[in-house]
């Protein structure tokens, strides 16, 4: 794949949001599920993503899965993004994109419930899907939709704390094109202030570049 084709692919992410006319009320919505652990800012990530989409004039909905809120316990949050009002409030069962903030959850919870071969998967790791033993599982998946970013390392470097949530949203913007890098940056600055905001912004921007570079690598490596 060439660069312009990648661009078309990311635009396809956007095209997915286009809805039909009044006569056929198709309510196409981009649905994201975020997995992490208590303390990693999973719920905040979903909220920030919804604010990024809101900043673009879209409808968005973020909500946590409800349960005990213990540090380290598995946490799930959801975000829907649409060009139209989002009426449903059911949990996201078949995500268009999956953000995994903590790779150690792989053997603990059913991270991949409802995913298809087309689902975007963004994994917080300095390694690869193969390194985590997921190579076989994702063999039939779209390789340009399977991306990794060392978000915890980026967070440590820019923020000084292992909080990968906002960083991964930069990666999400790079991976899907569903929201822009600038909308994510604006959402981070709306939520945080001072060095915390700027650290998260710098880390998110680096994650964006990392993921888009990774996409280019994948294009080059992909067979014709």
């Amino acid at each position: 794949m060439r660069t312009d084709e990648v661009h078309q692919e990311t635009m396809a992410g956007r095209a997915h949001l286009v809805t039909a006319g009044e006569s056929a009320p198709v309510r196409s919505t981009f649905e994201v599920r975020i997995h992490g652990r208590g303390g990693q800012g999973v719920v905040t990530a979903a909220e920030l993503l919804s604010v990024a989409a809101f900043n673009e004039g879209r409808w968005a909905q973020a909500f946590p899965s409800f349960g005990s809120e213990r540090t380290g316990a598995p946490v799930v949050a959801f975000c829907r993004i649409s060009e139209r009002e989002i009426r449903t409030h059911e949990p996201v069962l078949a995500p268009d994109a999956l953000i995994i903030q903590d790779a150690t959850l792989i053997h603990q919870v059913d991270l991949f419930s409802g995913v298809t071969a087309d689902t975007y998967i963004l994994l917080n790791t300095a390694g690869s899907f193969d390194d985590l033993g997921l190579g076989e599982f994702v063999a039939g998946f779209r390789h340009d939709h399977l991306l990794t970013v060392p978000a915890t390392e980026l967070a440590m470097r820019h923020i000084g704390r292992p909080v990968p949530n906002a960083v991964l949203l930069g990666g999400f913007a790079g991976m899907t094109g569903v929201v822009s890098e600038e909308s994510v940056v604006a959402a981070i600055r709306q939520r945080f202030a001072g060095p915390l905001a700027e650290g998260n912004v710098a880390a998110a921007r680096e994650a964006f570049r990392y993921v888009t570079d990774e996409e280019k690598e994948l294009e080059r490596a992909a067979p014709d």
Binding site: A24, P25, R27, A46, E47, S50, V51, F54, W59, A60, Q61, A62, F63, P64, F66, I86, R87, T88, H89, E90, P91, L93
Partner: protein
């Protein structure tokens, strides 16, 4: 002003715009964020004058609201679930005394078994307390209903409970158009109490009433609810012209014209139902939706006229009356007495189980084809139920049901087994 905001925060901001003078607060999930945010607004001086009183229990929260309201203050509180039960004696008193307190109920299940998730059991437990009960479908409506609730409550001297789905709405971050202070001030005049405790003009509120007049006093509460049936749609119309959006009213219909099958529900599940109804309409099924906003007073005449053309109604309820079945269904059935119309009840979403379009779809398809049962429990795991029933038939000492069921499910949270 359009904001991307948590439902609880949107409610707190809107409540503050209504200028309550006394807010009594006791935290219980999922309403905690609301009173916390109101508390912040009081502390920062944005909501002033207002006395924010941290109380020691829900019983105190409602008792303080009663005292404040009787002294002529605009009073607000919020609760959920067991919190509502704990304040219930005072809830009935507020209703019986006709004190215009506004309370948010962040709907949640009631134990046992212990459960912190959403359903409508708490609201149903207060159905007959004499409060107006308005159900919000969205966070926008939840926010807007509070403005209307203060107006309605104070005009008629009746307490109003704004019910919004706990977690599903309270914890959802969504787009909400928050009202402006000037607009709320124009819409909601200062509280002019019908009855007030004033040291300069002493009187009592809360007389003991014997058999000679109890029925009359209770009927007068009913009469005010009948007045509310008139005022709720008028206030919604006034709200629409003042704020430029539709919220509240007695009920909402969606694609009910020519519908053979109408799905009836309360609260946020209506969103999922509308999405599903759109799909089924595309497939040629004549199906529509009736959302009840005002559960008490119950708009029987409006419900009847909305359902007149239908052949059947499917009432999707997040609560049920153990030993019988649907609660809302009973009201719907009364409202359509004499019409050739079948009423089916689908109990769904108990204790926070998500009500999905995928789960509802086969039930609604069967109903539209005339094959619905009278009472269905959505996605009931019959195998689990039958195992426990068999255990109970077999052993006298079969033990606690909840623990047995969790053990069968393999849930690791059961202690000591």
């Amino acid at each position: 002003m359009l904001r991307q905001i948590e439902g609880s925060r949107a409610v707190a901001e809107t409540v503050a715009l209504c200028r309550p003078e006394v807010v009594s607060a006791y935290p219980i999930s999922p309403q905690t964020h609301i009173v916390e945010a109101v508390g912040e607004l009081v502390k920062s001086g944005r909501l002033s004058p207002c006395e924010f009183i941290n109380v020691e229990s829900e019983f105190a929260a409602m008792s303080v609201a009663i005292g404040a309201s009787a002294a002529g203050a605009r009073a607000y509180t919020a609760t959920a679930s067991q919190g509502l039960l704990f304040m219930m004696e005072a809830v009935y008193n507020a209703g019986g005394l006709g004190l215009p307190i506004v309370m948010t109920l962040a709907n949640r299940a009631i134990g046992a078994p212990i459960n912190i998730w959403n359903d409508h059991s708490d609201a149903m437990s207060a159905r007959d307390a004499g409060w107006v009960q308005l159900f919000a479908e969205t966070n926008q409506e939840a926010a807007d209903l509070h403005v209307q609730a203060f107006l309605l409550a104070e005009e008629l001297s009746l307490p109003v409970m704004v019910c919004m789905d706990g977690f599903i709405l309270t914890h959802a971050v969504e787009r909400v158009d928050l009202a402006e202070q000037d607009d709320v001030d124009r819409f909601l005049p200062p509280y002019e109490p019908r009855q007030v405790l004033d040291p300069d003009d002493p009187m009592s509120i809360g007389a003991m009433v014997g058999p000679d007049a109890f029925e009359e006093v209770r009927y007068l509460a009913h009469a005010r609810h009948l007045q509310a049936l008139e005022r709720i749609p008028e206030i919604a119309t006034d709200f629409a012209s003042a704020f430029g959006r539709t919220s509240g009213g007695l009920l909402h219909t969606y694609r009910t014209d020519d519908a053979d099958t109408v799905v009836v529900a309360l609260g946020s599940v209506l969103g999922t139902i509308k999405d599903l109804v759109d799909v089924m309409r595309d497939e040629g099924t004549r199906i529509g939706v009736l959302g009840i906003t005002s559960f008490r007073p119950f708009p029987a005449a409006a419900v009847r006229s909305a359902l007149e053309g239908a052949a059947r109604v499917v009432v999707v309820e997040k609560a049920f009356s153990v030993g019988f079945g649907g609660v809302l269904s009973t009201d719907i059935a009364m409202a359509v007495t004499g019409l050739a119309l079948a009423v089916h009840t689908v109990v769904a979403g108990l204790g926070g189980r998500p009500v999905t379009g995928a789960a509802l779809r086969p039930v609604l398809i069967a109903a539209a084809e005339g094959n619905a049962e009278g009472l269905t429990f959505l996605e009931l795991d019959r195998g689990i139920v039958d195992r426990e029933l068999a255990r109970m038939a077999e052993h006298r000492h079969s033990g606690p049901t909840a623990e047995n069921v969790l053990r069968d499910l393999g849930t690791a949270t059961v202690q000591g087994v």
